[in-house]
């Protein structure tokens, strides 16, 4: 089956088997190996990506379902060499050790903050229930989520301030 997808901003046209999972398409066909496979039952969330801006477990989506849609992986988050606020927060809060769950955790966090820009600790823990980490005990991941929320709000404020300043100067 022929599919047309936009992955991390680039357009790809490929023939894929109908049964091919999105995560295998990303890894084996596009070389997007930043997204990883941690289980085969949809429980671990390591393969989480954004499909049209909302998180999906790419092991539970067929590549053909991404036809005519936009996929964002962890490789497409940083813009012009600047880390995404969630990536910064994971680094600053030591929210990763081995790093294998990290791509999925980061993408799930991006989705959470889209849904709820100011989660409290309990909401962050609930929202990440579908993403397993074996190294961190989650404490620093939760701290990173709350920190990323702050960073995102500040960035938004800065952007607004910059726009207003620019408007004032005109």
């Amino acid at each position: 089956m022929r599919i047309v997808t936009t992955v991390d901003g680039a357009v790809y046209i490929d023939d894929v088997e109908p049964r091919m999972l999105l995560v295998h398409y990303l890894r084996d066909r596009l070389g997007k190996v930043g997204t990883v496979v941690g289980c085969d039952t949809g429980n671990c969330g390591a393969c989480t990506v954004l499909l049209d801006g909302r998180s999906v477990k790419s092991c539970s989506v067929l590549a053909v379902q991404a036809d005519d849609h936009a996929v964002t992986t962890v490789e497409g988050l940083a813009q012009h060499g600047d880390l995404h606020p969630v990536q910064e927060a994971f680094h600053e809060n030591h929210a990763l050790q081995c790093g294998y769950c990290t791509p999925g955790m980061i993408m799930a966090t991006v989705d959470l903050l889209t849904e709820n820009p100011a989660p409290d600790e309990a909401q962050a823990r609930e929202a990440l229930e579908g993403n397993l980490c074996r190294c961190t005990g989650y404490q620093n991941i939760v701290a990173a989520v709350l920190d990323a929320a702050r960073r995102t709000r500040e960035e938004t404020d800065d952007t607004r301030a910059a726009r207003e300043n620019a408007g004032g100067a005109r």
Partner: protein, 798 residues
């Protein structure tokens, strides 16, 4: 809620050690620029898939691979018969007794299968999909044999796994303080005791459940055969592959690229590694095998699985006088790399932090038809710590004493260190009083006891329980002489090398093989301090036997306490080699030079030269003293004299809903003493992760088999690795009693949280329920188990 803020620098600005440096490792991991083994693609690479036995014990009477071989894309299919001459037996490096029974452990089953999940055939195809598809076309006839599952039955030889051996008992290992001269006769002590407490505890079988499934790639197309593997132990793996497959060691290179967790689960020489190597070599093509998560659960080694019978002797004032331990340890179907040694590591820890005078430990290692056990975070020490910390609570209960009071009555006092224990070790340092006092304050122990009393008084359906665990552990594996005395097949040293580059940059080679521990950051901090080189100018190389030819890898909380000290020693050698050259350049005597902050300075003058300038001068070699080798590079191998003994006090408060059996951790406080700290942020992360795994054993995780030996908990849907929603925030703090045995004063931290937390949680659950008549609950304390325990206690009380 952390008392030690990981974001605060704890040392002066110009010293790296003690700083909460953000990790160098993160940049590529948070952007997905990773090098997991499964990412590797080589020209002409083929893919392997493994057919696994669906039955736990059977004779293979027929395998028909003809249909599979004709499937699209299939290049070859291999059975045990095809590889029988080459595959030998998977290695076991720890013959704990001279007469230990160790049946052959083939990578690919030849004529019998001994556990469900054992590899039976391998398909090689152009793609992983084609390889996996073809597995369905292989036809195997199994002739069922009696299945041995229950540990106690296995020890009684009701049925045997290996009829040729005639018994399931692989070895019996004993330590007796009277024989060893470290204490008295425990039978005398028990006979004379004022009170004897007997308990039997079950250590359930656990699955390490590292997040990255195992993966291996072998490239046989160069004179030196290269293996990439998701392993903790590239050096051990290379040596063991060479020895067990008769491959010349110098023709092998093993690389552990990015490795996604291990926790002991990747401390192994696996059937999958052996098969990928043998088949790639035979086909002359690069070959990759990556397992599914279900295969990880089935076929990667498990951990724990013991029955522990303890007899504790004490006086009525709470003074413990002796302990006898009878252990049954499930080996599973065969002995893998360190399988038989795991319970033996526990033998030295059942005395915990206490100083009673008589001890006997007997362990029977027993075969069953289950996947082999081996190292899992703590390896022997969590089991021992659980048992002693549980029975200390039982003693407190019998004597109506506070559990902390019983512990304080028996523990080694700060001024008594170094202390020779009844188990034959010398504890290096510790301050149990300080850690306990701090934990008690942070926890509000007295306040929670008062709240507990109120809930008991009013018969609240949600009861409060308070659990204590005061632990120590032996880590920094390990003094080579000690390992030798325990018949372990290798030493416990570690190696490091430092390369001074002409541009002032530095490469540090370590034999430790990190897979999440943060070596690149911590080792850079050490070298930055010791050589005065900027943190960012240091690169840490590890996990490749070509760039790091000597090493013993990462496990047993050994990296910093052994590998980190090797780095210190190598740095000292660099300075020593640079000194005569610096003296030559500065035209002074060597003795007039002081080395500090990266510069050699002529004492009392302003004349100085930077170490990096010496490195450049050495590279040019235009003007060196006569007879001096133009090379500052140095290497060092460090073998510790003793283990290091971190310790801590962990306090847990749980709410137990007596109507549903649900347990919720209300407060968890731990104060750990791991000596000096290189990076407090990394240390705290290690504690958090360790706590999560220990709590998981107490409340969530268990590998469950049905009566035919099929693993029921074979995915993350059934095996409950806790999520963020299942765990609380922890309150962590530290006290610092430096290790006297090494120049950094450091102890290990990788396993501390796991070792300490399990008994703290279970003690708290039982503390909540004792007034209801509940005396014991097996782990994991699931709502169903807790609910049943409450109901059956009610039944008895009625």
């Amino acid at each position: 809620m952390t008392a030690v803020d990981p974001h605060t620098d704890t040392a002066s600005a110009d010293h790296e050690i003690g700083r909460a440096r953000r990790r160098k490792e993160d940049a590529h991991l948070i952007t997905g620029r990773t090098r997991w083994t499964d990412n590797i693609v080589l020209p002409g690479m083929l893919h392997a898939a493994i057919l696994r036995s669906p039955v736990a014990h059977a004779r293979i009477t027929r395998i028909d691979v003809g249909e599979a071989a004709r499937q699209p894309g299939v290049i070859a299919v291999f059975t045990g018969a095809d590889l029988a001459d080459e595959q030998g037996s998977l290695p076991c490096a720890w013959p704990i007794t001279e007469d230990m029974l160790s049946p052959p452990a083939p990578a690919l089953a030849v004529d019998t299968v001994n556990f469900a999940g054992e590899a039976v055939a391998v398909v090689v195809a152009r793609t992983s999909y084609e390889a996996r598809d073809a597995l369905d076309s292989i036809d195997v006839d199994y002739d069922d044999l009696p299945v041995v599952l229950d540990l106690a039955d296995a020890a009684a030889d009701t049925e045997v796994v290996y009829p040729d051996l005639g018994t399931n008992v692989s070895a019996t290992w004993t330590f007796d303080s009277a024989e060893a001269g470290t204490g008295g006769d425990v039978d005398d002590v028990i006979r004379d005791a004022e009170i004897v407490v007997e308990r039997t505890f079950r250590q359930q079988r656990l699955i390490p459940a590292f997040m990255e499934p195992r993966s291996v790639v072998v490239d046989p197309t160069a004179p030196q055969l290269t293996m990439w593997s998701a392993t903790q132990v590239p050096h051990v793996l290379k040596l063991m592959l060479a020895m067990s497959l008769d491959i010349p060691e110098h023709t092998l290179r093993v690389i552990a690229p990015d490795v996604g967790g291990g926790f002991g689960g990747k401390l192994q020489v696996t059937p999958e590694e052996v098969l990928t190597l043998l088949i790639a070599r035979r086909l002359g093509k690069p070959l990759k095998y990556t397992e599914t998560r279900s295969e990880t659960m089935l076929a990667a080694h498990h951990g724990r699985d013991q029955i522990q019978k303890l007899t504790l002797a004490a006086r009525r004032d709470g003074t413990v006088t002796g302990l006898k331990v009878d252990l049954l340890a499930d080996m599973g179907a065969c002995l893998r790399l360190v399988t038989p040694g795991v319970p033996i590591l526990g033998a030295f820890m059942f005395n915990g932090i206490y100083k009673f005078g008589a001890y006997r430990f007997t362990c029977r290692n027993v075969f069953t038809n289950k996947v082999p056990t081996d190292a899992y975070r703590g390896a022997g020490r969590p089991e021992a710590t659980f048992a002693i910390e549980r029975i200390m609570d039982e003693l407190a209960t019998e004597l109506s004493m506070d559990p902390l009071e019983v512990r304080a009555k028996n523990w080694i006092r700060h001024e008594e260190f170094p202390f020779d224990t009844v188990a034959g070790l010398t504890y290096d340092s510790g301050n149990y009083e300080a850690a306990t006092a701090r934990a008690r304050d942070l926890f509000d122990y007295d306040g929670l006891r008062a709240e507990q009393a109120r809930r008991r008084e009013r018969g609240d359906p949600v009861q409060l329980g308070i659990g204590v665990s005061t632990f120590t552990e032996m880590c920094g594996l390990a003094p080579s002489r000690v390992l030798g005395s325990l018949s372990y097949g290798a030493g416990g040293w570690e190696h490091a090398a430092i390369r001074m580059l002409p541009t002032g940059k530095v490469e540090v080679v370590t034999g430790s093989s990190a897979h999440g521990q943060g070596h690149e950051t911590a080792w850079s901090q050490i070298v930055a301090d010791r050589l005065g080189i900027p943190f960012d100018d240091i690169e840490i190389l590890h996990g490749d036997t070509q760039s790091s030819p000597r090493g013993l890898d990462t496990y047993g909380s050994r990296s910093l306490a052994v590998g980190g000290i090797a780095v210190v020693a190598a740095a000292e050698k660099v300075v020593a080699k640079a000194r005569p050259i610096a003296a030559h350049l500065l035209e002074c005597a060597e003795d007039d030079l002081e080395f500090a902050e990266g510069r050699f300075e002529v004492t009392g003058t302003a004349k100085s030269v930077a170490l990096t300038d010496v490195a450049l001068a050495v590279f040019a070699a235009h003007d060196l003293p006569d007879g001096i080798e133009p090379n500052l590079d140095s290497e060092a191998t460090y073998d510790p004299d003793n283990f290091s003994f971190p310790h801590g006090t962990h306090l847990c408060a749980v709410e137990v809903d007596t109507e549903t059996g649900f347990v919720r951790i209300d407060r968890y406080v731990c104060v750990d003493d791991i000596g000096r700290v290189v990076n407090p942020m990394i240390v705290e992360g290690q504690i958090h992760g360790g706590l999560a795994q220990g709590i998981a054993q107490a409340l969530y995780e268990e590998a469950v088999h049905d009566e035919s030996g099929t693993l029921l908990s074979a995915s993350f849907a059934e095996y409950l690795v806790p999520s963020a929603a299942d765990l609380p925030s922890f309150v962590t703090d530290r006290t610092s009693t430096p290790a006297p045995g090494n120049p950094l004063g450091v102890k290990g931290v990788g396993e501390a949280g796991t070792i300490a937390s399990t008994p703290a949680v279970v003690n708290s659950v039982l503390d909540a329920l004792r007034p209801l008549g509940v005396r014991e609950i097996d782990m994991p304390c699931t709502p169903m188990r807790v609910w049943h325990a409450i109901r059956s206690a009610e039944g008895e009380n009625r």
